[in-house]
């Protein structure tokens, strides 16, 4: 049989030259040690994964190892990784990439991800996989660095485009690959023209709208594998339900796609126990809250909303904004006067109803708690207030340097009962030893909520996780909880589906959407109706997704 054969040409010449020039030569010990080194680096088998040996600090889950094996052994390194959200597609991709690097098959590597994830990928590849990835910041990076992470949008733009297309990549990873479902887009064309040997496409939703989505994805990996488009649509139609019903198609797709679901990972997921705790303002507090609805803000509803949200968190948070307002509006007497009045009023208030509740919850337990708040002022206040009740706590902020974050985490683990955080921003910070979380105030961006919970409810969490939401009746909290959060099960929902729903409803930013609803509504009643409409749209989308097709997505 004809097998391409290449003999090392360089070494004989070099050795010959060295012999003529009389060195330099190494000692026998050096010589032998180099030989032993090469032996330990050699990969003696076709089958199996070597990469986990290189990554002893990582604990891989069975489905992740199986996935990597399948892609390496059965799919020859071209596959769609389509696990459900939260099962670790990134980990699988890293494992596979590492395997090809360890076996010396991949050197020049390109990783295309959404712009917002570039840094995270760089970090994970470096820290978890010891893969020296760099983010593309300067144009020389394309040619000079071996492992480059970039957004598609950057890569496809001049002057980058020509450089990228002229490189021969051994390995390409594309994250959030469902964005490539339309073959007419520039992104699709661009990706299709890349020179690549091995290739992974990552997506939790391989079929989003129509069956053609999967055709287009597979065609990037293996052109012709599902036939030409005409043949494909003649055979299988364009209903995405075909993917579930047609055995042929199912089989075909399984040869190029790995998809794990939460229930088939065999992992015992600990439960999330969710408890929404309703709190009433004291009469004085309620009256101060109601004062924030002032006609002064008729042209500036955002300010009023902000003040109300702050007041639901702590009077300190609200006080800071009020004070700023008073300072800024020295020329506007009425605002200034009003501001000073409210400040005076809230100064008289007793301790915040929510803070008292927190003492009730934590005081009765000797377990550890994480409290999340949106406001720095609340964080300070709570720390002081907890201390007054003999409860030790440490602060945590996204802005802390890495070392300080780790230090705070350690203090929390070993000494303090409570960690008060303003931001989930602590990728890689390990908080699984804690299984209680209090959402002191609610973020309007539900993505943030999931990120917060994700810090403790993840692989490695041994206990059921208790999540408390604090909400004050007859305030803006109530709107949010009862309408949006409860009706669409936002609390239980995994963030990935939500992302997809938002995309399909064409809502780029849920937080802004909600803000606008409150700001533009003339009355609480109108706001309620608008929120209900939004909720209904969510529910409808969710049901459609479920009934039509289970294979594609849970959205």
């Amino acid at each position: 049989m004809d097998i391409k054969y290449q003999f090392d040409k360089q070494f004989p010449n070099e050795l010959d030259k060295k012999l003529i020039e009389n060195g330099p030569f190494c000692s026998f010990d050096m010589f032998q040690m180099a030989y032993e080194t090469a032996k330990s680096l050699a990969v003696p088998n076709f089958k199996g994964l070597m990469s986990p040996n290189y990554l002893p600090h990582m604990e891989f889950l069975d489905h992740q190892l199986d996935c990597a094996k399948q892609v390496v052994e059965k799919m020859s390194g071209r596959a769609i990784l389509a696990d459900e959200v939260g099962l670790g597609k990134t980990i699988e991709a890293g494992l596979i990439l590492k395997e090809y690097m360890v076996r010396g098959l991949a050197k020049k590597i390109l990783i295309l991800v959404p712009a917002s994830l570039v840094n995270q990928w760089v970090k994970e590849l470096n820290e978890k996989f010891y893969i020296p990835a760099v983010s593309q910041r300067k144009s020389y990076v394309w040619e000079q660095c071996d492992v480059v992470v970039s957004s598609i949008d950057t890569a496809k733009r001049p002057p980058h485009k020509d450089i990228v297309l002229s490189q021969k990549y051994d390995f390409i990873i594309i994250d959030e690959a469902h964005k490539l479902k339309n073959h007419k887009t520039k992104n699709y064309q661009f990706v299709n023209s890349l020179k690549k040997t091995y290739c992974l496409l990552l997506t939790a939703t391989p079929v989003q709208n129509q069956l053609a989505d999967i055709f287009n994805l597979v065609t990037i990996l293996k052109p012709g594998y599902l036939g030409s488009y005409d043949e494909f649509s003649k055979t299988f139609g364009n209903k995405r339900s075909a993917l579930k019903r047609d055995e042929n198609l199912k089989q075909l797709v399984q040869n190029v796609m790995v998809r794990n679901r939460r229930e088939d990972t065999g992992i015992d997921w600990t439960k999330r126990k969710i408890d929404t705790i309703w709190i009433n303002f004291s009469e004085d507090e309620q009256s101060a809250y109601d004062d924030l609805d002032h006609e002064l803000f008729s042209k500036d509803p955002f300010t009023s909303i902000t003040l109300k949200r702050e007041f639901c968190s702590s009077r300190e948070a609200c006080y800071l904004s009020l004070k700023k307002m008073v300072e800024q509006h020295e020329e506007n007497n009425s605002k200034q006067e009003w501001g000073e009045q409210v400040i005076q009023k809230i100064e008289q208030l007793p301790h915040h109803a929510k803070a008292k509740k927190v003492i009730d919850i934590i005081g009765n337990s000797d377990e550890k708690f994480i409290i999340f708040t949106e406001y720095r002022a609340t964080q300070y206040y709570l720390q002081w207030y907890l201390q007054q009740h003999g409860i030790s706590s440490v602060p945590f902020r996204g802005g802390f340097k890495r070392g300080k974050k780790e230090w705070m985490t350690q203090l929390f683990q070993n000494h303090a009962q409570v960690l008060i955080a303003t931001e989930a921003g602590g990728e890689g910070i390990n908080l699984q030893f804690c299984n209680n979380m209090i959402h002191y105030d609610l973020p309007w961006n539900p993505m943030r909520l999931e990120q917060r919970i994700g810090r403790i409810h993840r692989f490695g969490q041994k206990e059921d996780v208790n999540i408390y939401y604090l909400a004050i009746r007859n305030t803006i909290d109530e709107h949010l909880i009862s309408l949006l959060y409860e009706k669409i099960n936002l609390f239980e929902r995994v963030i990935g589906d939500l992302d997809d729903i938002l995309e399909q409803l064409n809502i780029p930013n849920l937080e802004n959407e909600i803000k606008e609803i409150f700001a533009e509504s003339q009355s609480p009643g109108e706001a309620r109706i608008k929120m209900e409409n939004l909720t209904a749209a969510f529910q409808q989308n969710q049901e459609e997704g479920m009934s039509e097709d289970g294979t594609a997505s849970n959205s």
């Binding site: 049989m1 097998i3 391409k4 054969y5 290449q6 003999f7 090392d8 070494f11 004989p12 070099e14 050795l15 010959d16 060295k18 012999l19 060195g23 330099p24 030569f25 190494c26 000692s27 026998f28 010990d29 050096m30 010589f31 032998q32 040690m33 180099a34 030989y35 080194t37 090469a38 330990s40 050699a42 990969v43 003696p44 088998n45 076709f46 089958k47 040996n53 290189y54 990554l55 600090h57 052994e73 020859s76 390194g77 071209r78 076996r103 010396g104 098959l105 010891y130 020296p132 023209s193 020179k195 690549k196 040997t197 091995y198 293996k222 052109p223 012709g224 036939g227 030409s228 005409d230």
Partner: protein, 272 residues
């Protein structure tokens, strides 16, 4: 490589490189680097440039490596088979131990020339695997002996010719010795099982056929401009396919050198 082996490896590496080992017990090693290794491992060229400019010696760093899990609480760098630091050291070792010329210390005797070659064969099909061969080629009579490094373990060598010994000049020249090894390898490989290559070929053929059909069906109805584009795309894909699935064997020489061995040893190796 097990953690214990890593500890031993580091110990050997640093002592071979003449670094002062300040502490070495199970799973923990502290060394004061020499300048060469400091430059290599710590990558601080500006420091060295500055120090040299002001005419000073420079202070090399002292590093501690922890290779035992039970030592992890101690101060030092955790090192394991995957850590970039260890691979930096591996690469340095591979580069330093590449070429040699050595003489057996065997008293008053004639020394026979051998070409010693350690070879990595990589088989690449749908996956890839490596095999290592160690070959010694007697440069007088052309005999080849295998597993050569094992045999050499028991012998002591020096880099200068011992007193009262003399070398016999090679009859087989170095380039032609490599040719013989190359020929031998091709023969050796032709006798190996090649299911892996057949399997890779099968997949290649199957995928190529699919690819051909795909592009043909589009080319039929395409305009001239589109045809041009399709052709380019097609060639691109075939290229990927060849790289990914065509079986291939690569021979890389790990290291090699000229060894002068005593008559007795040579005969023993040849099996006379």
């Amino acid at each position: 490589m097990e953690q214990q082996a890593i500890h031993n490896y580091l110990h050997n590496f640093f002592s071979l490189n003449q670094c002062e080992i300040k502490e070495s017990r199970q799973g923990k090693i502290t060394v004061k680097l020499n300048e060469e290794l400091d430059r290599l491992l710590l990558n601080r060229p500006f420091y060295w440039e500055y120090i040299k400019k002001i005419g000073q010696e420079g202070e090399t760093a002292t590093l501690t490596f922890i290779s035992s899990p039970s030592m992890r609480h101690e101060e030092g760098e955790w090192i394991h088979f995957g850590s970039p630091r260890l691979h930096q050291i591996f690469n340095s070792q591979l580069a330093q131990g590449r070429y040699t010329m050595l003489y057996e210390q065997a008293g008053q005797t004639a020394l026979n020339p051998w070409l010693v070659n350690n070879i990595m064969i990589s088989y690449k099909g749908r996956q890839k695997k490596d095999e290592i061969l160690s070959i010694g080629l007697h440069l007088i009579n052309g005999t080849m002996v295998f597993n050569f490094m094992e045999l050499l373990k028991k012998i002591s060598f020096s880099s200068v010719i011992p007193d009262y010994s003399y070398t016999i000049s090679p009859i087989v020249r170095i380039p032609s010795a490599f040719n013989r090894i190359n020929n031998y390898l091709q023969h050796y490989l032709s006798e190996q099982e090649d299911d892996w290559a057949k399997e890779a070929y099968e997949h290649f053929d199957k995928e190529k056929e699919i690819l051909n059909h795909f592009y043909e069906s589009y080319t039929e109805t395409a305009s001239d401009d589109e045809k041009e584009l399709l052709k380019e795309r097609y060639e691109n894909e075939v290229d990927h396919l060849e790289k990914r699935l065509l079986p291939e064997i690569q021979i890389k020489i790990i290291n090699g050198g000229l060894f002068y061995l005593s008559e007795t040893t040579s005969n023993q190796f040849i099996g006379k």
